[in-house]
Amino acid sequence: MASDTHTNTDSDSASPASPFLLELDDIRAGYGRAALVLRGLTVQVPAGAIVCLVGPNGAGKSTVLKVASGLLAPRSGRVLVDGADLTGHGPQRMLAAGVAHVLQGHSVFREMTVAENVLLGGYTLRDKQLIAERVEFVRDLFPVVGERWTSLAGLLSGGQQKQVEFARSLMVKPRVVLLDEPSMGLDPKATGVVFEQIVRMRDAGTAVLLVEQNARRALEAADTGCVLDLGRVHVSGPARELLADPQLGELYLGGRPARR
């Protein structure tokens, strides 16, 4: 399946003015001296679409996002944002180009207050008015953010921290957003809010690259799905088709657990 690198969406033949906001082309990447994690992987995300990456633990999903946001420089391959080649640029440059990334797991600033965390989300913004508006918005969206506004983020419960993190990422309105398991550890209510926001982002024209282990739920929301295994795209296609594939379900998506 080495050659199985795949374009996912509609048009295979990218026109010079690329229809994709984010394009990862034949990426090979790994950590330090260690062996490759990504072995020739291509992912394309058009504007106004949700592309969902699913796959076993350790397949390299988070690594894909790190390459896309410039945290990890690929060993070969290209990273294109809106057609411009930004391979090898750091996260600051990528952010300037409109790529925002929400890390997997716990990345709140533990020893700063919730307020400081959220405000740092808008570090690159200068417009005071805009910042105030966004703060208002996220405080409404996640009650816990407002309630615990002045307490240290490290003292919140696991799920609350995830909520703060997601709220922080909503401070800017990027053109491409990379989300790494945004629903992990969230209760059903908060999970609902998060998916709702993701859909809204898409509707507002943002390109979303989503990694989820809550695969069925994520694929239901997504336009395109990509199954990753061992650093390669195993299968890709319209999300609905993937959901329907019984073999994929068994291997990657998990059936509904049988009742007792």
Binding site: A35, L36, G55, P56, E250
Partner: protein
């Protein structure tokens, strides 16, 4: 040709370093607590032995062991205070321990001799100097043997496994049932005792004690340097480190004797070790060897979910559920 007395003294100095860093490694290696103030226990052992010989008129080797017992007793409250705090605070406490003892031994001149130092009488009065050195050479070697043996026993024991778990994650170890505080305290006391024995033996051999040299951070730092250099996870790591550092110090003294560049040498050495081989020479060498032997890209496992499912299905698959679940491939890289 028999080694000259001078060569034996160099040998003793290196053995002494080896005992000290091996003793240090009981705490540093097993639990990961870095004590920069272990020199304090050596100093206490030395002064304890010296004072017991001169003030209490105990026979020298009885004094050595009584002093070690006293230091062990003292290590309990010290460990109790120090081991409550982790990381940086622990280091600070360990430094403070040396500095406070330095002040006490300097100020309490009526008892300790203060800055004038303390002279410890020779344990074998009639012995020729070269004989004296030879005897102590073997005594130090014996002490080193005992320390290594103890370390080895702990290393392979369940106790040692618990200590290593503490080094990795204290909360987790505790939740698995390891009495972390007791474990840390025990090993701390063991370490202090060996350090004190080394200090006491040194006092009997050398004879002149001065608080400035007995309670110096530098000596603690050398212990860390030697253990780290050799590799704290290995039985012979500190010994190897002591050989290298002891030789380097002697060499730099002979080559650059009339400048303080020996400090620069020690500093740079420590810096290089910390930066480039924090695990020490032994693991670095093994890793290098391993790299030559196996080529390029190996990872823990390179199988896809489908292959894995396959394997589990026919291998030791237990029941029907096994087949279904497969499992994500290992790390892809």
């Amino acid at each position: 040709m028999a080694p000259s007395p001078y060569e034996i003294t160099v040998g003793i100095a290196i053995l002494n370093y080896a005992v000290l860093s091996t003793s240090w490694n009981f705490v540093g290696g097993f639990t990961g607590y870095i004590s920069l103030g272990h020199g304090a226990f050596a100093g206490l052992g030395a002064y304890g032995t010296g004072l017991l010989v001169t003030k209490a008129e105990l026979p020298p080797f009885a004094a050595l062991f009584v002093a070690a017992a006293l230091v062990a007793a003292l290590a309990v409250p010290v460990g109790y205070a120090a081991l409550r705090v982790r990381g940086a605070s622990f280091v600070i406490v360990s430094i403070a321990l040396v500095l406070i003892l330095l002040l006490v031994f300097q100020s309490w001149a009526s008892f300790t001799g203060g800055s004038r130092g303390l002279v410890v009488p020779r344990p074998f009065p009639g012995m020729l100097r070269s004989e004296h050195h030879r005897t102590f050479y073997f005594l130090f070697a014996a002490l080193l043997g005992v320390a290594l043996l103890t370390w080895w026993i702990i290393d392979r024991s369940r106790f040692g496994m618990g200590l290593k778990a503490i080094r990795e994650d204290e909360d987790k170890a505790q939740s698995l049932g390891t009495p972390i505080f007791a474990y840390k305290l025990v090993v701390f006391v063991v370490s202090a005792t060996f350090t004190s024995l080394a200090g006491g033996l040194y006092a009997l051999w050398f004879g002149d004690l001065d608080p400035v040299f007995q309670f110096s951070i530098l000596s603690g730092a050398y212990m860390v340097l030697m253990a780290l250099l050799g590799g704290v996870r290995h039985l012979y790591g500190p010994l190897l480190g002591a050989l290298i550092v002891g030789y380097a110090l002697e060499y730099s003294k002979v080559e650059y004797g009339d400048t303080p560049l020996h400090l620069v040498v020690a500093g740079l050495l420590l810096g290089v070790v910390v930066m480039f081989m924090p695990d020490g020479v032994i693991p670095a060498a093994t890793a290098l060897l391993a790299r030559f032997r196996t080529s390029g890209e190996t990872s823990i496992r390179e199988v896809t979910a489908a292959e894995l499912k396959e394997r589990h299905g026919q291998g030791n698959g237990t029941d029907e559920s096994e087949v279904r679940n497969s499992e994500r491939s290992g790390s892809g890289g």
